[in-house]
Symmetry: C2
Subunit: 207 residues, 2 copies
């Protein structure tokens, strides 16, 4: 951050910026946007990647249904407009975390390419890392950890992604993790290795 | 954070929590909610406190009109409902930052006690520090840095806080900074000293 040379500083001009925060925490802020079917392993990968990054001394945070749907987006339903607004708000919040210097994982199905691309457009190039958590519908439905696919097949959940509503896979994601054919640990290593290789786990150079 | 004792960890059970993040960054997450009239010095104090905390090695972030009104809350206007929703969303985002272990300053007039109290209620006790940035209407109008009071007096801005809309001062704020009668530096010291005295600038004890 800018040196404080005297006690007579003009406080407002001494304001710090994103680079100062990033140097403080020794990393770059980034939004790691996990997208994939229900049951594909988004949250498992996000939570495990958060743990691995913490172990390595990096500050990360997971935005997911638990902390967003019941909070910021508690006044949104599941209409097409509300789904788009849901993703938009998550994108804006991710942008704020990214500017704060935090590595933020988002774990939402986010089935529509246009919604995800709109989030990408919110941010400077490089701040948005789209990760396609790729497991086939058969695999996800076979797991059906929450019993949602069964309910969707029974018509109890309308517009369920993969069953009665489309999932649009990313055209050019930064990363694909094939959770259908590899372990969670392998997927986490892929994500963390990508972040390391691309420089997100290092502080920006001093000015 | 929890020790990783082997490579054969069950990733999901190895998830980390707020305490782990707070120990990593050596501080406690907290929302420092600055409220006061337009021109009272909220943003100046917030930005200067952020700089001072950064100098001391603490990660903080300022939410203000610049990064929120044009982003997350760009689809809100100035109706009573939209003003309430504006503050609600800022409160929810602050809560997320607080859970992430960040010291977040919010710099919004937030004139209604009910709206601020609703934000306080969102959070565990101790996570919300209300700071009344107290300068008289005369002082703020005398400064009129942005020329807004002049426009408000001319009737060009409807429902302007202090002129044509009420400002409800906090009944029991954690802190009052009298920016009308002391320097910005003194106000910043008051805020940072409060955070230090209350333990927010230290990591929670290891479990």
């Amino acid at each position: 951050m800018a040196e404080q040379k005297s006690d007579n500083i003009t406080w407002h001009s001494g304001q710090i910026d994103r680079n100062d925060r990033e140097r403080l925490v020794g990393q770059r802020g980034v939004t790691v946007w996990l997208t994939g079917l229900s049951g594909s392993g988004k949250s498992t990968v996000a939570v495990a990647a958060e743990a691995e990054l913490t172990r390595r001394g990096h500050l990360s945070y997971v935005l997911d249904g638990d902390n967003v749907r019941h909070g910021l987006n508690s006044n949104l339903g599941f209409s097409p407009e509300d789904r788009t607004e849901n993703i938009r708000r998550i994108g804006e919040v991710s942008k704020l975390f990214t500017e704060a210097g935090v590595i933020v994982f988002t774990s939402f199905i986010s089935p529509y390419r246009a919604d995800r691309d709109a989030v990408r457009e919110l941010m400077p190039k490089g701040d948005f890392v789209e990760v396609f958590v790729d497991a086939s519908l058969e695999t996800c439905e076979g797991r059906d950890v929450k019993g949602l696919y069964k309910k969707a097949r029974a018509g109890e959940i309308p517009e369920f992604t993969g069953i009665s509503a489309p999932y649009e896979a990313p055209a050019k994601p930064e990363l694909v993790v094939d959770t259908g054919n590899q372990s969670i640990q392998q997927s986490v290593e892929q994500v963390v290795d990508h972040l390391e290789k691309k420089g997100y786990l290092s502080a920006p150079a001093a000015e």
